[in-house]
């Protein structure tokens, strides 16, 4: 029996691995080929997992000796991927120093996910590696990707607003150089107006933003079509057609009361005529009443 106890005591206990189910990142890279000294650039890496039962501790290691100081993670290098979420965004922020040399810089982001507690076992952490490639040069690059195009509803008498949500993928601020518009009737049978918008608003480098411009139109309430062409310099970037709505004045925004009264009184020639006649009769009545009172006073005075 003593032999058995001795045998057991000399054993070494190794508990099983505690395995995390799965983990992934998308995209597995941080890349920009158009940085210039002083550029600010942000890229989202989406962390994901199919099982979201527990919090995960995320640890990010930046392996990029030359450019480590340029790179920051919005949530810090250690943060929690909260339970209940299958996707969790991590923003990689790159600030290129003003004195950065022209070169292409490489590195890696090691993103590791592990349970919060080791639970007394051999823990398996799952991770993923994102490649870093940042090219710094003095070249200007201007281009954009269109995300959405819209014409928000507006009221009669207001200008048409044309909105392009775009992703500026260049290193200078950008806007469509021209938007050509053809406004068609509800049935897309007749062109009502054509024109160009040349003064769209700007979107900063490496940002997603809205570039907006206006065109004067004189459209009654109803539904219309707009055929559009969006240009970058002389290049036609996109063309399509879009449906939009014009509403009666005052239906989207409340009007001042004075304007509402004035519009009510002058809504139709018939109403103007009736109001004029009533007004005249009212005036005549007052004058007649005044003279009648005057007459009575004179009589009583006598």
């Amino acid at each position: 029996m003593k032999k058995v106890y001795f045998f057991l005591l000399t054993f070494l206990l190794l508990l099983p691995f505690f395995a995390l189910a799965g983990f992934g990142i998308s995209p597995p890279y941080v890349e920009n080929n158009w940085l210039v000294p002083g550029s600010h650039f942000e890229q989202t890496i989406m962390l994901s997992r199919s099982e979201a039962k527990e919090d995960l501790k995320i640890t990010v290691e930046i392996e990029a000796p030359e450019i480590k100081d340029w790179i920051k993670i919005d949530k810090g290098n250690e943060f929690i991927f909260p339970a209940g979420k299958n996707q969790y965004p991590m923003i990689v922020i790159v600030d290129v120093p003003e004195n950065a040399g022209y070169s292409t810089y490489y590195g890696k982001l090691r993103i590791k996910a592990a349970p919060l507690e080791a639970k007394g076992q051999v823990t398996v952490a799952i991770g993923a590696v994102a490649d870093i490639k940042l090219r710094v040069s003095g070249e200007k690059f201007a281009d954009f990707k269109i995300r959405t195009v819209s014409i928000p509803d507006f009221e009669e008498g207001e200008p048409l607003k044309f909105v392009v949500e775009l992703e500026n993928i260049g290193n200078v601020k950008i806007r469509p150089s021209k938007v050509h518009l053809e406004i068609w009737d509800n049935f897309h049978q007749q062109v009502l107006k054509t024109g160009d918008i040349l003064q769209m608003s700007w979107v900063d480098s490496f940002k997603v933003g809205k570039s907006e411009g206006e065109m004067k139109v004189d459209l009654k309430s109803g539904q219309y079509w707009a055929e559009y062409e969006i240009y970058k310099d002389d290049e036609l970037k996109a063309e399509d057609k879009i449906r939009f709505n014009v509403h009666s004045a005052g239906t989207l925004k409340p009007k001042p009361i004075s304007k509402r009264i004035s519009e009510f009184l002058t809504a139709s020639p018939l109403r103007v005529a009736v109001i004029s006649i009533i007004g005249t009769l009212f005036f005549v009545g007052i004058v007649a009443g005044f003279f009648s009172l005057l007459k009575r006073k004179r009589k009583s005075g006598k």
Partner: protein
Amino acid sequence: MKKFFALVTVGFLGIYLVFQVPILIVPRALADVATSTVTVGNAAPVVSDISLNGGADINLTENTTTAVTATGTVTDYNGYQDITSVICKIYRSGVSGAENCTSNDNNCYQVTGVTSSCAGNSCTVTCNFNVWFHADPTDSYSPQPSEYWVAWIKAIDSQGASSSATNTTQTVDVKTLIALDFTPSIDYGTYAPGSGDASTTHVTTATTTGNVAIDVNLSGTNMTSGSNSISVSQQHYATSIVAYSSGTALSMSAARLELDTGKPTTHPSNQAQNIYWGIYIPEGTPLGTYTGQVTAEAVAD
């Protein structure tokens, strides 16, 4: 005075009658005079303003589906009530057949669209797709960098007339997703100092749960029990069962293990590879329960 008020009242009545009588009588009189017949023809619905995922690139979720939405506007000049059904597809631009592609969770999805916010002759259409983790990527890291994903919406009316359109102004990519599932747990069991596995017999499976082929970087920490430790290099691994001494020693720095697997094409993933482990406990290792960490990193193949 009485005469004056009577005059004013009669005046008002007269004016009312002068203006109101024609309004009441004239349309009825006209309706009696003429009967017109108009045949309203059928107009096919028009689809416009299609957007996929708001124009943003799509990030998938490891080993499961991700909700992706396509929207559009459907107009029918016979009234929006005439729109009877809407079919929506999203597909990789290079897929065979384009909008006629056969449903395939790698490159072609089809759902029925739902109309809402109907006004005038138009409705908004929303199409909700659940896109699997293995859907083909089209970004610059993918095998199809010049391709993108297209949203296509077709509206059909009560007479069977239809039309369709795509999101021509957008180029939406499905981003590369590298992902790994590393299970099940390994149970080394209980060993006496100076003993261990003769071969790498403890198996775990590395399953690719993204949309590209991956390799795995393996690293670890020393296993510790209080102030005592077992070197990380005592754990060996291989892609098959080999003698313990022939396995690769685990290291604190990541070492790449080439997997023979490719891109998953089905769910559950059909790309998995076993990794075999063994351990040897050196002589003189003090008794205890040792803990440590092994890290398995997915890297693009």
